[in-house]
């Protein structure tokens, strides 16, 4: 009887401008293999299923514990972290592609720097007076902390952007992640004092009004962040700010 194997069908691309192509690799099955450990096997012996010598597949990965967000890929058509996709439970040929909503650097490595630019645009920080010792921070209601904590686990992995039908090359929508962060900043007593700046950044093109309520974000978020709650709440916040500005100024 043939030994059990896992076949990875990988979409490859030499550089951002070159054409894509597919290569298949066959890896002996191990229950605790995951996509990354299988890509590591390929690195040690970069030979395709047909026996052709090739280059090691280039991929982005770091923590391998699903907290850094690096190894996000599209596996069997769905976006997720590759490190937590175990070989156990995968049957047949497994397709592995880079995320489609970000420019490919090479093979499975994509450039997600636009997400960090969005954080800059939306002033996603608490504007403290200084780092010198000013004593304890404000008290926080433990229930509110528990809820806000969910949003503070966002690792900017981009799953929510990948799955969002409103994020693509013909729209400027910044995606759900940034809305979650603006919500989070507004939950902190100091952050709340400056929430209007962030809401302003979400008003324009690419901001929260471009959400189409497909709600894929909340389904694919690997950290189960209640993104749609943030979208609803921040939508209300921006609306109220707008009406306030309209009638109070």
């Amino acid at each position: 009887m043939a030994e059990r194997t896992t076949v990875l069908r990988i979409k490859r691309q030499e550089n951002p401008r070159s054409a894509t192509y597919w290569e298949e690799f066959e890896i002996p099955y191990k229950a605790n293999h995951n996509i990354i450990s299988m890509l590591m096997e390929i690195r040690r012996n970069p030979v395709t299923r047909e026996g052709k010598r090739t280059t090691a597949v280039v991929f982005d990965a770091n923590c391998l514990e699903e907290v850094c967000g690096s190894c996000t890929m599209v596996i069997n058509g769905r976006v997720r972290q590759a490190c937590s996709q175990l070989a156990e439970g995968l049957n047949g040929t497994v397709t592995v592609e880079p995320m489609s909503k970000f420019p490919v650097v090479r093979d499975l490595w994509v450039d997600r720097s636009k997400m960090f630019d969005y954080l800059k645009k939306a002033h996603s920080w608490i504007p403290i007076d200084g780092t010198y010792d000013l004593g304890p921070g404000p008290r926080v209601n433990p229930q509110e902390q528990q809820f806000a904590y969910l949003f503070s686990r966002c690792m900017t992995c981009g799953c929510c952007l990948e799955a969002c039908p409103q994020v693509n090359d013909h729209s400027k929508f910044m995606g759900p992640a940034i809305i979650g962060q603006v919500y989070l900043m507004g939950q902190h007593p100091t952050g709340a004092m400056h929430q209007d700046e962030r809401l302003q950044a979400l008003m324009g093109e690419g901001g929260i009004a471009d959400c189409g309520n497909a709600q894929n974000c909340v389904e694919v978020c690997p950290k189960s962040i209640p993104l749609t709650t943030a979208i609803g709440d921040v939508g209300g916040q921006v609306s109220r700010k707008w009406l306030r500005d309209l009638f109070a100024k």
Binding site: G77, R78, P127, A163, P165, Q166, V167, N168, H170, S171, F173, H194, E197, Q200, M203, G204, E205, G207, A209, D210, C211, G212, N213, A214, Q215, N216, V218, E219, V220, P226, T228, T229, I231, G232, D233, V234, G235, G236, Q237, V238, S239, R240, W242, K249
Partner: protein, 222 residues
């Protein structure tokens, strides 16, 4: 410190920025779908439901909508301008989408896709409906009498167009009410959204039944 100015809150400028214009357009689009367009659809179904009491009742009860003072101005302001805006801007929004319901088969994602499809269908149907009824009247003076409507509804092609068109309108409205409550921050959490969604599905079923009943009622001979 030296760079404090750069870190300070930017000054709030007066006058409408490009951002605020974008926001205003999106909010008007969302609002116009409910008021007046959604409101009119409710009313339109309600007045046409008199056909269930027979053609005569229908013609009599709908008379006032044909004999308003400043008829054209009111129709234009309350109906045609909002609908045109909602439809054209809706097409602009639809152009920015990239549906992926094949890969992500969640019910909300299906709703998202259907909202765009029914939006296009509703736009085509409303155009057809207007030009063949009120538009036709303005152009030729021919009224959309019961006999005229009856002759269409017994024609399978017309009936199919009306069935698809009205159901698309009804879906687009009821799903739109649901997303409206999210967009404006009225239904925020998942359980609130689930509740509103259920209510909107129920509303869809009611309006769909009413619509079909109206269309079928027109098939009865005068």
């Amino acid at each position: 410190m030296a760079e404090d100015a750069a870190l300070a809150t930017p000054a709030v400028s007066s006058g409408m920025t490009a951002d605020e214009r974008h926001w205003l357009l999106r909010r008007l689009h969302s609002l116009s779908g409910i008021v007046p367009i959604g409101g009119f659809l409710f009313f339109h179904l309600f007045e046409n439901a008199y056909v269930l009491h027979g053609g005569g009742a229908w013609w009599k009860e709908t008379e006032f909508t044909r004999t308003l003072p400043f008829q054209v101005a009111i129709e234009a302001l309350v109906l045609w301008i909002p609908i045109l805006f909602h439809a054209i801007y809706g097409l602009v929004i639809t152009a920015t989408s990239s549906p992926n319901v094949g890969a992500y088969t969640y019910s909300r994602n299906t709703g998202y896709t259907l909202q765009r499809i029914t939006g296009i269908l509703a736009f085509l149907f409303i155009g057809f409906h207007f030009f063949s009824t009120r538009g036709w009247y303005y152009a030729t003076g021919v009224e959309s009498t019961y006999a005229r409507m009856h002759s269409w509804m017994i024609d399978p092609v017309y009936l199919s167009i009306y069935l698809i068109g009205t159901l698309a309108c009804v879906y687009h409205l009821t799903n739109g009410i649901f997303t409206f409550t999210i967009t404006w921050g009225l239904a925020v959490g998942p359980s609130a959204q689930r509740l509103v969604n259920r209510a909107c599905v129920a509303l869809f079923v009611v309006l769909a039944v009413v619509s079909v009943a109206i269309l079928v009622a027109f098939r009865a001979p005068a």
